[in-house]
Symmetry: C2
Subunit: 320 residues, 2 copies
């Protein structure tokens, strides 16, 4: 099944477009989990990895009936070496076993022959002594487009082949994203290729690329499996990008801890109320730190309440 | 010690700027290694990882007296999951134990708080239950600059703190690199920031960023620990970039299998004969496929000869 159709169906079934970012930080894992695991494994990378997995399972169990998508960010896991990557893999598998769609947030990028390796790693099949084996088999992956189409194509081919999706960075949520992404580009090349304004921002150029790269991956929902990352912190740009990429699903970081509110994410949606998933990481998984009634051991219940709060917040803005 | 000084000293000691790309592919690992390991471990990801490590150790033993630098590309390892990442880590450690400088080629990128995670993972210290532990502790890391300075800053801070280096993608070796990197940018923002031409290419803008980001990391050699990736396949652009980034060390992929020759990489060097390291992956590690006298079991000797051939090739072009 086409990834976009699967994602849209999941959003409709759950009645909201929330993506929970599974970005664990060791210093914020509840002490009871840490004690139980370090008593057995010592203060090791293996113990850190097991703490992450146990913490994540608690979150997943609490939110899997409410939200359609989770997005583990692999940097947090890679810190703990191959043991951390093990926890990342197990987290993805556990989330999928609970019916959640998993977006691996790894922002991979390289030249074609190497991008093929990343694509096999996260989305496709890997060579296994003359046969094939599954890689991580996530549902989707984030991808950085600095190298142009031939660095993105291997991922798109695996989207087609295995029913997977990608989200290409277009306009990111961070403060200095404009240093490259907001530059005005000018000249023959752009106007010839797109036959429109001679003048556009880099993020608009990338939007045109994303829309054209994904044109063959549009499913029955009308959305493409080639989506875009568009930060909640730039609502005016999101409005432009929504028009430039009518068929792309937006993965929207920046809600909550990074400062984006429900009204800021609204321009990321189409008139059909679809077309975006909104991520919140710290604001959900570490909600126990702000919701005193729960305490550390109630972190999963606090996360569940934070999801319901977020759903309400989006609903009030007319999003779901 | 400043990374740039360490790298320049290693290049001078070995008398060449060759970087061996450790990008193993399971289907090209000699049958004798595969048999020995799969007999014990079966046709598993663990076996694939062990094949990679044993293969790499053979290459490293053969080339460590000749070349100054190796560059394992993590995509090839990530295909085999956490077991593959284990092989990547062990490869880096083994190469360092043989006196080689290790550039982890992972092209990481994200917003600041997540980039901190990647930087800790590859270059710095990680949180370990209230104390600190080393991450991978590579000597340097490749970084993709699509998110601007706040996504690169955490890496630069770890360069300063731990004597590490980064290589920022500027102009990549692949065919479609120009789709973004060659765009003409125009307007107030660029001219105000750099007080020069109103018109420049994206790769020129990135070069200005790299030179300014690395200004505080210049060592006694006159080179900065913030370097740039500049493909051997674009010699004319390399010439411009060499002028724009006099203090940056260039990491130059694209020699050999990708089509770049010694004359193509020459513009990447400064007049002092320094300022670049030239990578070759397939052309060295799988040299046994072209050098029939060696055969698969002589892969390490074939790699050694390929390094000596490359050194000769660079020497003839007046590079070393």
């Amino acid at each position: 099944m086409n990834f976009a159709d699967k994602l849209i169906a999941a959003v409709q079934k759950k009645g909201n477009p929330i993506c929970v970012g599974l970005d664990p930080r060791l210093e914020q894992i509840p002490a009871s989990i840490v004690k139980k695991i370090t008593d057995k494994k010592g203060m090791t990378k293996e113990a850190a990895a097991e703490c992450f997995l146990e913490f994540n399972k608690g979150i997943i169990d609490a939110v899997s009936d409410i939200v359609p998508v989770v997005k583990p960010q692999i940097a947090f896991y890679e810190q703990y070496g191959f043991q951390g990557v093990w926890a990342f893999e197990e987290t993805c598998k556990y989330a999928q076993s609970k019916g959640l769609i998993v977006i691996a947030d790894a922002k991979r990028n390289d030249i074609g022959s190497t991008a093929e390796g990343y694509s096999r790693a996260f989305l496709g099949d890997v060579e296994m002594f003359g046969t094939k084996a599954k890689g991580l088999d996530a549902d989707a992956l984030t991808v950085t487009p600095y190298l142009g189409y031939d660095g993105v194509k291997p991922f798109i081919e695996d989207c087609k082949k295995f029913g997977k999706g990608i989200f290409v960075l277009v306009k990111t949520s961070n403060r200095s994203s404009g240093e490259l992404q907001d530059q005005d580009i000018f000249g023959e090349k752009v106007s010839k290729e797109f036959a429109q304004d001679e003048h556009m921002r880099v993020y608009e150029l990338m939007a045109h690329y994303v829309e054209s790269w994904g044109a063959d991956e549009v499913g029955e929902s009308g959305y493409s499996s080639v989506g875009a990352v568009v930060g909640a912190t730039y609502p005016a740009q999101a409005e432009v990008l929504r028009r430039l990429m009518p068929q792309a699903i937006f993965l929207v970081p920046g809600y909550g801890a990074q400062g984006g509110g429900a009204s800021d994410v609204k321009p990321c949606f189409n008139k059909d109320g679809l077309g975006a998933v909104v991520n919140s990481s710290r604001g959900i998984i570490f909600a126990y730190e702000d919701k005193e009634k729960y305490g550390p051991d109630g972190y999963a219940d606090a996360a569940k309440e934070a999801c319901l709060d977020m759903k309400e917040d989006l609903k009030e803005a007319g999003i779901c």
